[in-house]
């Protein structure tokens, strides 16, 4: 079984098509299951009442946003180092879903902040770092959008992603440091209520659902990018012939 032939976009296209339902359907199932566990099985928290149920989507989306950035940078670096177009396309496909998850975690984070701290935006270390991560995503997406030549866009994006990955820990550390500097004891966003098993179960189920969702959406967008790139190449060849 020669795996190498799937490295070329045109061969990977049908394979991706077959894989999508295998990820999309389980993702929907897990979502429903996770929500059911989160809302009916998990008890009401004595401290925060039912407001804490927001963390079932807030925490997984924050993790997804973070991990997809690292995955994007990995694919971009591979695409640049080995001149593998498919891998660079993968990075571009991941970037939008990653940005979506980061934005989602910010929205749910602030909606959760209101009942627990009384304000929509808390300059907490994790929320602020997630905001900066969103800026890094926006930088990557807008850089790739403003370059017409695809191979330059891929490689320029790769450089930015690698520089971004080196900076992410520094940014997280500096925000953490800044947070302790100005607020003394940092109020932990999670509030660390006793995590009852069903709560943790709900969160992990939804995390798995987000994972499957991301793979499905990224594969669809990847096929879309392959089609659009091959189309322009075909037109160009056609026009020149």
């Amino acid at each position: 079984m020669n795996w190498y032939k799937y490295a070329s976009p045109t061969n990977f296209y049908p394979l991706a098509g077959k894989m999508i339902p295998w990820f999309a359907i389980p993702s929907a199932i897990l979502f429903v299951l996770g929500l059911y566990v989160g809302f009916f099985v998990a008890p009401t928290d004595f401290q925060q009442g039912d407001a804490y149920r927001i963390i079932f989507i807030h925490v997984p989306s924050a993790w997804m946003g973070m991990f997809l950035y690292l995955l994007m940078a990995f694919y971009a670096a591979i695409g640049w180092a080995f001149n593998a177009r498919l891998s660079s396309m993968m990075a571009s496909a991941i970037s939008i879903t990653g940005a979506m998850f980061t934005a989602l975690s910010l929205v749910t984070g602030s909606l959760w902040g209101k009942p627990t701290w009384g304000t929509y935006w808390v300059w907490d270390a994790r929320l602020t770092s997630t905001l900066i991560l969103l800026f890094l995503y926006i930088g990557f997406i807008s850089l790739q959008a403003s370059i017409d030549d695809r191979s330059r866009a891929d490689r320029a994006g790769a450089v930015l992603a690698i520089v971004g990955v080196i900076n992410v820990p520094i940014i997280y550390f500096s925000v953490q440091w800044w947070n302790t500097l100005h607020q003394g004891a940092s109020i932990r966003l999670l509030g660390k209520p006793t995590i009852a098993p069903p709560m943790m179960a709900a969160m992990l189920i939804i995390l798995a659902a987000c994972w499957l969702y991301s793979i499905a959406v990224v594969l669809v967008r990847l096929r879309q990018i392959i089609v659009e790139r091959e189309q322009t190449a075909a037109w160009a060849a056609e026009a020149r012939a």
Binding site: F135, R152, W177
Partner: protein, 219 residues
Amino acid sequence: MFRWIVVRDLTLAWKSRVDVLSTLFFFLIVVSLFPLGIGPETNLLRLIAPGVVWVAALLASMLSLGRLFANDYQDGTLEQLLLTPQPLYLVVLGKVLALWLVSGVPLALMSPVLGIQFGLSGNTLFVLVVSLLLGTPVLALIGSIGAALTLGLRGGGLLLSILVLPLYIPVLIFGSGAVDASITGMGLQGSLSLLGAVLVLSLVFAPWATSAALRISLE
């Protein structure tokens, strides 16, 4: 050969003094806007002074990035710089050093004048200058990556700021943290040493990333 790059860029900057000065005037004007916006009472101004001066330094040094590669790209000298027998890493370092000498250092030396406007005392002014002297090279180094990536793109200036500002945040935090610490009398070795660490890290990584970005943009 490294000397030639720096000499060349310094003479060029000297010949087009106007837009070098405009970066400094921008810094001056932006900082002076804040008291007009917030009100003249000094204890409030003293509180916000580190942040204001540092954000203005950030924006001013980002404006000066436009000059780093853009006109060399237009007149074809950038290609020649890529074809010199010395490593591109050194060429980039030379250009960034020249840019820093022309925009970063005067910025830092001018900052005490603004500090006084904000009611900062002698010792803090000294810390302000030191933190800016340590910080502005990092701004130039990281900014050079963005300048190389957005070479020749439409909407370059705006795109450059979207790429580079998030990467500037650690420098902003450590820099203004140092000045803030000296105002409140807390130990400022922590933030200055962190700033120094970021400087060393960007001195090592940034030129490599910039030369890779230059090769990509000039394909």
